[in-house]
């Protein structure tokens, strides 16, 4: 005889339960005493054991469904997957009545008692219980850990409807960029943390950028052997003071090259493309809690030494947190350099409303075939991310080719002079 398993009444006040989880599947053999399913009541989450052994022939209530106490939720024993037809109740009743009388009243089983495992955690907050919400809205919110107390209802009598919860969920995710507040209590292995102000600002900016700017990426490999040798020589002469870094050289080369590519040194606030005549180079500086992009103004007019000095100052300000607003505004192009961390290749997200950002990776010793023989070469990979609405692949390729040329052939001596001046129109 198959045994019907019903939603157990696990507390005096329990009227319905959420079936959280089945530990067995249809067709599995279940041993008496084995944990069979997990139920969430108005008070707690409990595991319930099988009171009989047999094949779990049918699961009638799936995980996630809420059913009243006493509702059949599964059948142990009997034939697997067989559904009792309901079309012909009269016929069934009649047949039952006609069947040989082997089911005497004495044989009718009293329902076996369920063994209940003590509660292990409490999950529902009182606030959610009191909210005026439709059952569908309540279920939806509970499944997604949304706090109903924060939602204003627009349904009958101010009732929170499914639509209200869906709208709330969408707005919250878009506007705050915060983690969804969870309604359940956290497991011991989890912790929840609120985003810092800086993190929220970064989240908002990168979300906006990736959502609204159609990014595309072009990469180039640049031989840095020559530059590195010159740098080594130059810094030895300086005797430890005012050392020039490879990053300074890249900023100088990029600033110079950008003069010929106005659409890459530009802003696109969508009303129109604003071409900038001077290069205000944004430099991404990583901090413990996030990152910041100070701007080296008019970097196209600076000597290598001036660039190096300027970057040092910005770095110091970043560490002490003492930027003026001016230091952070008016960038026209940005460089993000993860080379010092050994990164072999990456692409950056454009800082709106700029149109491009250059990602610089580590310089690596690579065997390069040159004129038929293998030459050990210091190679650096750079990737330009661009806004495809205003820039095309050919601009990127030409820019990177010129940048490569500048880094591979320009002497540092030449870089010690200012490259260009701002033209006055």
């Amino acid at each position: 005889m198959p045994d019907e398993i019903t939603m157990p009444k696990l507390s005096d006040t329990m009227e319905e339960g959420t079936l959280l989880k089945w530990f067995k599947q249809e067709g599995d053999y279940v041993q008496q005493g084995e944990t069979l399913f997990e139920v969430e009541t108005d008070k707690a989450v409990m595991e319930v054991e099988a009171f009989t052994s047999g094949v779990l022939s049918q699961i009638l209530v799936q995980a996630g469904e809420i059913v009243p106490v006493g509702t059949p939720i599964a059948i142990i024993g009997g034939e697997t997957g067989k559904v009792v037809p309901q079309e012909e109740p009269l016929m069934q009743e009649a047949q039952k009545a006609m069947a040989p009388t082997d089911t005497s009243l004495h044989e009718i089983k009293t329902p076996p008692k369920l063994k209940v495992v003590p509660p292990k955690e409490t999950r529902i907050s009182a606030g959610a219980d009191k909210a005026n919400a439709s059952p569908a809205a309540r279920t939806f919110a509970q499944q997604r850990g949304i706090d109903l107390a924060q939602i204003e209802g627009t349904g009958i009598g101010g009732m929170i409807t499914l639509k209200d919860v869906r709208n709330f969920k969408e707005h919250k995710a878009v506007k705050e960029g915060t983690l969804p507040l969870t309604q359940r209590e956290l497991l011991p292995t989890e912790e929840i943390t609120n985003l810092s102000k800086m993190r929220k600002a970064i989240a908002a900016t990168v979300s906006y950028s990736k959502k609204n700017i159609p990014h595309f990426y072009v990469s180039y490999e640049i031989a840095m052997t020559n530059v590195m040798a010159q740098l080594h020589e130059l810094n030895q002469k300086k005797n430890g003071t005012d050392k020039i870094t490879v990053n300074d050289v890249i900023i100088r080369a990029a600033a110079t090259t950008l003069k010929n590519y106005p659409s890459l040194n530009a802003l696109y606030p969508e009303q129109g493309l604003i071409l900038k005549k001077e290069v205000n180079m944004g430099i991404v500086i990583g901090l413990e809690e996030g990152l910041i992009i100070p701007v080296l103004k008019k970097s196209d007019t600076l000597t290598l030494q001036e660039i190096s000095h300027g970057v040092k100052q910005l770095r110091e300000k970043a560490e002490s947190g003492k930027f003026s607003a001016d230091d952070l505004n008016e960038g026209t192009f940005t460089i993000s350099n993860l080379g010092m961390l050994g990164v072999s290749d990456f692409a950056a997200i454009i800082y709106p409303p700029q149109t491009a950002i250059l990602a610089v990776s580590a310089i690596k010793d690579i065997p390069v075939i040159k004129n038929g023989s293998v030459v050990p070469t210091k190679v650096m990979k750079v990737t330009l991310s661009m806004d495809h609405r205003v820039v095309d692949g050919i601009n990127a390729a030409n820019f990177l080719r010129d940048l490569q040329k500048s880094l591979e052939t320009d002497t540092l001596d030449a870089m010690e002079k200012p490259c260009c001046t701002v033209e006055d129109d």
């Binding site: 319905e16 469904e65 809420i66 009243p68 309901q86 079309e87 109740p89 009269l90 016929m91 009743e93 009649a94 047949q95 009545a97 006609m98 439709s134 059952p135 569908a136 809205a137 309540r138 279920t139 349904g155 009958i156 009732m159 409807t161 499914l162 639509k163």
Partner: protein, 323 residues
């Protein structure tokens, strides 16, 4: 497919089943020579004769009682009650005998009986002749309750009811007799317990039957123009009830309106909404609304009678309230 009236569809069903099975016969008041008060049996007397088309005295208890006896000994009677209002005189035969005999005899005898009865209001026939009593029959276990809205369903469901081995209460609506619809010319029957989806949508589920399906269709068309899409379910049979169709629809729309011409208190909608609350509570995004007949004896005055029967505007108002 030929376009015929609800009345003609029923007449065809009766004729075809009488031709198919010599055990099928009909009895009732004025159904023979006169062709029935609503002319559903017209022509059958001439075709099948007085042994199979029997005019009875004005005695409803006798009509149903005789039919039960005939059914128990192997015939397939179709008893016509002139209107469902007179079924009250036969309630003892229907509830105490037809519905129970098969159970009480341990399944050793069956009662393949159909009781046909027109009902409904809207024709200024007064409180005693304008009732919708389907919930009386729905309440009683052992009776199947069939209540078609279209000519196609009327024919298919009547043929299926005649072939069913259990007592079937077959309820027609006086306002539907002249409505026309396409009916297949080839042989077919319509299974009991399967609802029909008249419109599909995602915003609201409207559950209706009989004449209220037509009113609901009109309302659904108005709502469609306002950008509100409706799943419109024609139940077709109240017992057995197609809970699978109701369940699937309400899970989809999260909102249900039940439209019924019978009295609201203890009516068909009360039963269906209770079942939805029992089984689909967590799917609901708004309380269920019943658009039902007013809890009054049907007024005679035309304006009052109209106010007592659900109209298109009542359904539109319910839709506004539920969204």
């Amino acid at each position: 497919m030929p376009l015929i009236s609800y009345r003609e569809a029923l007449n065809d069903a009766l004729r075809e089943e009488m031709e198919r099975d010599p055990n099928v016969f009909i009895l009732g008041e004025d159904i023979g020579f006169f062709g029935g008060a609503f002319k559903v049996t017209e022509g059958l007397f001439a075709e099948f004769g007085e042994k199979r088309v029997i005019d009875t005295p004005i005695a409803e208890g006798l009509i149903v009682g005789a039919a039960i006896g005939a059914a128990m000994v192997g015939l397939r009677p179709i008893a016509e009650l002139m209107t469902v209002n007179f079924a009250l005189l036969a309630m003892d035969q229907i509830v105490n005998h037809a519905a129970k005999i098969r159970y009480m005899f341990g399944g050793k005898t069956k009662v393949p009986l159909v009781v046909r009865a027109p009902g409904g209001g809207g024709s200024q026939l007064g409180a005693q002749h304008s009732q919708s009593l389907e919930s009386y029959f729905l309440h009683c276990p052992g009776l199947k309750v069939v209540i078609p809205a279209t000519p196609e369903d009327a024919k298919g469901l009547l043929k299926e009811s005649i072939r069913d081995d259990n007592p079937v209460i077959f309820l027609e609506h006086e306002h539907l007799y002249n409505t026309k619809g396409e009916v297949p010319s080839e042989e077919y029957t319509t299974p009991l317990g399967k609802a029909s989806l008249k419109r599909t949508g995602t915003d609201i589920t409207i559950i209706a039957y009989s004449n209220m399906v037509l009113t609901s269709l009109e309302a659904a068309d108005h709502l469609e123009k306002e950008g509100i899409s409706v799943d419109l379910i024609d139940l077709r049979t109240l017992n057995p009830l197609d809970t699978a169709t109701i369940r699937a629809s309400v899970k989809k729309t999260n909102r249900a309106i039940i439209v019924e011409e019978d009295w609201k208190t203890g009516g068909v909608g009360a039963e269906i909404s209770a079942q939805i609350y029992e089984h689909l509570f967590t799917a609901l995004d708004a309380p269920i609304i019943r658009v039902a007949g007013k809890d009054v004896p049907m007024p005679y005055a035309k304006n009052l009678e109209r106010a007592a029967i659900p109209q298109v505007d009542d359904i539109l108002q319910a839709a506004i309230n539920i969204l």
